[in-house]
């Protein structure tokens, strides 16, 4: 569960949140709507500890978002950034590194084949350096990491923008059916049209 209490946050002199409170229960699937440039992704930054609120506090599954718990909290999030800023290496190397770093909560590596098929990614794509991949391939590779990591809370920033319509449907259906908390910022209609999605209007 994510709990935000009386949070205020200013970015570059503009108030983004003032005395904002919100509770998000586990398993919620929520689309955050609002015009671009309104600071929707600030919420993700604050939840991930990339930015600090001026006042108020945030708790994730009962843990205060502070330096004592930041590692544990970050390990409960899967965050996909808008530009999918994956490192400059092959998908295979990245998966190996994630396996090494996540011994406590191992990757669901047995389902790798299943996820590759779902995302229509040929296994040979994992041998290519990530920067040479197309935007759509990189986005699907990013989602693949999410599936493999299997973390309980997903923060997705425009996760389907570079996918074709058929793939958008597949991804949205699959993600909304997962037993996870999902927060999405997206301009894609597929998310909005999905019956299991709660909408949150951002200003």
């Amino acid at each position: 569960m994510i709990s935000i209490q009386d949070m205020s946050f200013t970015m570059d002199g503009n108030p983004v949140f003032s005395d904002f409170s919100m509770e998000i229960n586990s398993g919620t699937k929520m689309l955050i709507k609002g015009r671009s440039g309104s600071g929707k992704t600030s919420l993700f930054k604050l939840l991930l500890g990339f930015a600090q609120p001026d006042t108020g506090n945030i708790r994730i599954n009962g843990l205060a978002l502070d330096k004592t718990h930041i590692r544990e909290i970050r390990n409960s999030f899967f965050y996909l950034s808008q530009d999918v800023d994956l490192p400059h290496e092959t998908g295979r190397t990245l998966i190996a590194r994630l396996e090494r770093l996540n011994r406590e909560h191992p990757l669901v590596i047995d389902s790798l084949g299943h996820f590759l098929t779902l995302l229509d990614l040929p296994p040979s794509l994992l041998e290519k350096k990530i920067p040479v991949l197309s935007g759509g391939e990189r986005q699907r590779l990013g989602l693949l990491m999410g599936f493999l990591l299997d973390r309980p809370i997903w923060l997705l920033d425009e996760p389907t923008s570079a996918l074709d319509d058929a793939m958008k449907e597949i991804v949205v259906d699959y993600i909304t059916a997962m037993d996870k908390t999902i927060l999405v910022v997206s301009h894609d209609r597929v998310w909005e049209a999905h019956p299991d999605i709660t909408k949150f209007n951002w200003r």
Partner: protein
């Protein structure tokens, strides 16, 4: 023993060649004449002062004074590194001072004590020039290392934060930038070790030969000093990154915004 002394007048005769240089510079509008004159003047004045205080240090040859002088050199080196890498001096001085002093003293004393088996460890004739060579070379690599590391992360902050969230480990997320900056910092020294003797005779060796040492002795010193330079550079760059992290990043492992000087 020692090299033949030069008279000031014969030294000044070298200015003769400056005339065509300045003439060509003016004719081609290189815009360098002022810089050439200031550069040459500064060289003469600064080295003149070095000559004076080295005479002074050598005459007294007091261990305490020698150490104080070395410490002063370290302080100036740290200040210069931070100024040149556009980082706040007040924020990073302490970690950089430690990162430089620890390997510097260790390698310097090891050099004096074990490698050249000096009987008096604090002999100014060895301590000061060798120390100066080590520091002078570290300066460049520390500037490259720190600048590449912090400006690299600043430039690619989104990539850093994304991998931080993905890995959950600051150490792992920082690795690509640390790797790149350590490599750029020490590569020039590795390259000069690999080509030394092929293209140029290093300054220290030339000096020793002129001073009357046998070439074989000069070569042994040169090998030892190259190794000492490389080790000091390598360890001080690695330590400067490691020690500066608590000052460069906040408790949430995000880069502090106010660590850069100016702009």
């Amino acid at each position: 023993m020692g090299a033949q002394d030069l008279s000031i007048l014969s030294l000044l005769s070298f200015l003769l060649f400056l005339v065509p240089v300045l003439f060509i510079g003016r004719y081609l509008r290189l815009g360098l004449n002022k810089a050439i004159v200031t550069g040459a003047t500064r060289m003469c004045i600064q080295l003149g002062f070095v000559g004076l205080y080295l005479e002074f240090l050598f005459r007294f040859n007091s261990p305490l004074l020698n150490i104080a002088y070395l410490l002063l050199m370290v302080v100036i080196a740290c200040y210069t590194v931070l100024r040149s890498s556009n980082l706040k001096v007040t924020t990073f001085f302490i970690p950089l001072f430690l990162a430089l002093t620890i390997p510097f003293t260790l390698i310097l004393f090891f050099f004096d004590l074990v490698v050249i088996e000096l009987s008096s460890l604090f002999d100014a004739r060895y301590l000061i020039p060798i120390g100066g060579m080590l520091l002078g070379n570290c300066l460049r690599s520390l500037i490259i290392g720190l600048d590449q590391f912090y400006s690299g992360i600043k430039k690619q902050e989104k990539e850093y934060l994304f991998t931080l969230a993905l890995y959950g480990s600051r150490f792992e997320a920082l690795k690509p930038w640390a790797r790149k900056s350590i490599a750029s910092a020490v590569t020039p020294t590795i390259a000069s070790m690999a080509t030394i003797g092929l293209v140029s005779l290093p300054g220290m060796m030339t000096g020793q030969i002129l001073g009357g040492s046998l070439p074989i002795v000069a070569i042994k010193y040169q090998v030892a000093i190259m190794a000492a330079i490389f080790y000091t550079e390598f360890f001080s760059v690695v330590l400067s990154l490691a020690f500066s992290l608590p000052w460069g990043f906040n408790g949430m492992n995000v880069l502090h915004s106010k660590i850069f000087a100016g702009k």
